[in-house]
Symmetry: none
Subunit: 235 residues, 2 copies
């Protein structure tokens, strides 16, 4: 699913800039702005390294012009509906991830800073999504709403990390030296098995890097060697 | 887990205001700001209906003052580590929801808009988290980073965890017996410090339960005691 961000009559240029930045942070490019005014210099300033997204933004006068070529329209609201307000019945934003399986182009609409999307605009949407927030103050800043939404959309895809994970051999060495250390300290049988199980789980959950594995192997080897000398000198 | 948001030397008052707003949006109240300057009026303006969070914010001059009463320190970074940069090895932000089953107070540190957290500050952390973003422009606006982090944390509040987390005292005992074991094995000075740093990070990332802590403490105490006898019998 190809995503277009649509800002409907945003009031503040700094918000437009921050939205552009957030789009670039999460790898989105297509920005449409429904506006009956020109966009000021603050938009560029607050976009920081995402000025190109402001420069290539499409400014249109009516929502319909922003939806040309769109297959699926998602509206957002901070004010969700009671059962008497069908228009504003919304799903939590994390449900949007499922839309990524759809084919075609999806537009996500974000409304004005003060009154959000109008009923006539909400009526145009295939789905309304909301960011669950505190009852005391549920309305997020516009650019925050965009950031959280785009974060949620990209979440599933970006599990790449720059560091090398410990290899199975390295993880085995950690466990081997640790086990020998515990044996030399007199732990045996079921208690030893149980302890090793706990260590495996604890280390398993911490996604040890290759560099860290090197340190852990060094430490446990050192302890094991010292205990080994100790055992042979006393027997 | 009780959460404190700590901004370390933020440059722009509008970001401070937007952070406060975001905190109120997601139901967090405790804001500490490490700053050597006064906070300007823009902070209040951009906080919108969260001015009370700015007004009750605690301004301190040093990071250590912001960590008084804190049991678990989480650092954030937009620049994650290669395998040669142990300090910046980070987990994706969604792993933070596991921290919510810990007891006590957690501080989440957000660094300066330009250079983030310094290495000396990262060294103080039990865990480093990052918001996975585009390689082209991975650095989020400060208030966006806070918004996404708090959104992710509140999502986690909805989940239930079945087991008790290790207490700060238990985690301290694990580290103490491990450190004494390494000392008895002849590791000292910078090498010892480096090793302990790696262990703190590895254990910090694995969210040890109370039951697991009991086993780890038992194992390392056993090893330490054996090494201690050994040292005293050979001297």
């Amino acid at each position: 699913m190809d995503v277009r961000v649509v800002l409907v009559e945003p009031i503040y240029d700094f918000n437009i800039g921050m939205v552009a930045r957030s789009m670039k942070n999460f790898g989105f490019k297509e920005l449409y702005i429904v506006a009956r005014r020109s966009i000021g210099i603050d938009a560029i300033r607050f976009a920081s390294h995402a000025a190109d997204i402001i420069e290539s933004a499409v400014i249109v006068r009516d929502l319909e012009d922003a939806l040309v070529g769109v297959d699926y329209v998602v509206g957002t609201t901070g004010v969700t509906g009671s059962e008497h307000n069908l228009l504003r019945i919304a799903v939590p934003i994390w449900e949007l991830r499922h839309t990524l399986r759809l084919k075609g182009k999806m537009a996500i609409l974000f409304g004005r800073e003060d009154v959000g999307l109008l009923n006539s605009e909400l009526r145009r949407c295939d789905l309304i999504a909301t960011i669950p927030a505190s009852d005391e103050y549920p309305v997020l800043n516009l650019s925050h709403a965009v950031a959280v939404t785009l974060y949620e959309l990209t979440r599933g895809f970006q599990r790449r990390f720059k560091y090398r994970a410990a290899t199975p051999e390295e993880r085995l060495l950690i466990m081997r030296f640790l086990e020998e250390s515990l044996r030399f300290s007199g732990l045996t049988g079921r208690k030893l098995n149980r302890a090793m199980f706990v260590f495996r789980r604890v280390f398993g959950r911490s996604f040890i890097s290759g560099r860290e594995a090197y340190t852990l192997i060094g430490c446990f080897r050192r302890i094991r060697n010292r205990l080994s000398q100790c055992v042979s000198s006393t027997t």
